[in-house]
Symmetry: C2
Subunit: 225 residues, 2 copies
């Protein structure tokens, strides 16, 4: 019996960082929107002190922008930011792929195998929600498999910031099919424990995601002009 668990209540500000980050990532708080402290305090039932501490952390993570004496705004995901973030994410995933091939045991690989099957099923039944979940789980498992906390934390942060992009543009059928193909390749390379190959294909996968995203955003701009 673990007694520390019941005692290990996280501090208020830690919980708030989690909750607020989720509100931003899940697009409940919209980019550019002001974040009025008092209002949030009331709705969350906390005082300003821990909330402000949380906002400082969120700001250092890049989810909000602070202006002295003018409060916090939700950081907007500009195209420029996407185009800067994806290459960094891509190299991190490349490294993760290489390390994962070296460090994952077969039980872990089998687990990914199962999640991969889930993903295919979701694709066939056109269930975007389930697809996103399975896809995210697979990437996260590969990162975990790299056995590198530093890599994991930085990847997590960048992935969260970019995750909002899925609210900006919808996944096209064409890109969806391509992504599935890429995942098939990745699975094969993982099975073969081809470190270099998996790294490269994960990097490519990420950069293709960016291309598709940029294309989709441009298409949306066309509609508006």
């Amino acid at each position: 019996m673990n007694l520390t668990d019941s005692i290990n209540r996280p501090t208020l500000h830690e919980e708030l960082v989690e909750r607020l980050r989720n509100l931003v990532v899940e697009d409940v708080l919209k980019p550019g929107e002001k974040v009025p402290e008092k209002q949030l305090c009331d709705s969350l039932g906390v005082s300003r002190t821990p909330l402000r501490e949380a906002l400082k952390v969120l700001a250092s993570e890049g989810f909000v922008v602070l202006q002295a004496n003018r409060g916090a705004r939700v950081a907007s995901v500009t195209r420029d930011e996407l185009e800067n973030t994806f290459p960094v994410l891509a190299t991190l995933e490349q490294l993760a792929g290489e390390l994962a091939c070296q460090h994952m045991d077969s039980a872990e690989i089998e687990q990914i195998e199962r999640r991969h099957a889930d993903m295919l099923k979701a694709y066939e039944s056109h269930d975007r929600q389930a697809y996103f979940r399975a896809n995210q789980d697979i990437h996260q498992a590969l990162i975990r498999g790299a056995r590198n906390d530093i890599l994991e934390s930085h990847h997590k942060l960048l992935a969260a910031r970019v995750r909002r992009a899925r609210f900006m543009a919808n996944l096209s059928d064409e890109r969806w099919a391509q992504a599935i193909d890429e995942h098939e390749v990745m699975m094969e390379l993982l099975r073969a424990r081809d470190a270099d190959g998996l790294g490269k294909s994960m990097k490519l996968h990420m950069m293709n995601k960016l291309s598709a995203l940029v294309k989709a955003l441009e298409a949306e701009d066309e509609l508006l002009s």
Copy 2:
């Protein structure tokens, strides 16, 4: 005339983040050491509120560790952390090298050339201090040259965290000579704007730094046993 400059006084907590981070990176606050809030408040002349906000940020950056109701400790640089951080730094530098070749203009390259010359001079006169400064400037300029803010911020954070390592083990003459050679190669590749080559050599340079560091630390352990 820029009027915003005089007005743009950073908030207290931002200054504190900077100052405290420097105290950690410059090894004034030693790893494992407790960080008593009151004492720091007195010596810095601020109240606890902004100081605590700063500590939260430092914690999210990994420079201190917070324990609920037990305050903050300076994070210790374990060998494990070094071995995790350097590969990540190395891939980031690889990416930076590739992008720098594409984006830097010749004036910027010439500036690096000059700093490179400074570095060689410092090497010849065995001035470690000057060498570290020039070396750091060169790496930073290459990162800047990549024209990618996300890359830059993450690199900056990781670089600061391992910078403390130089207080842990001294640079051996052998490694110093090798590092100089590697820098020569890097300069040549930059002049030739060989993106792939520069990326790879920067990555290798970083990993060699890690090897040397680990070796030096093991040698120190020998002495203690």
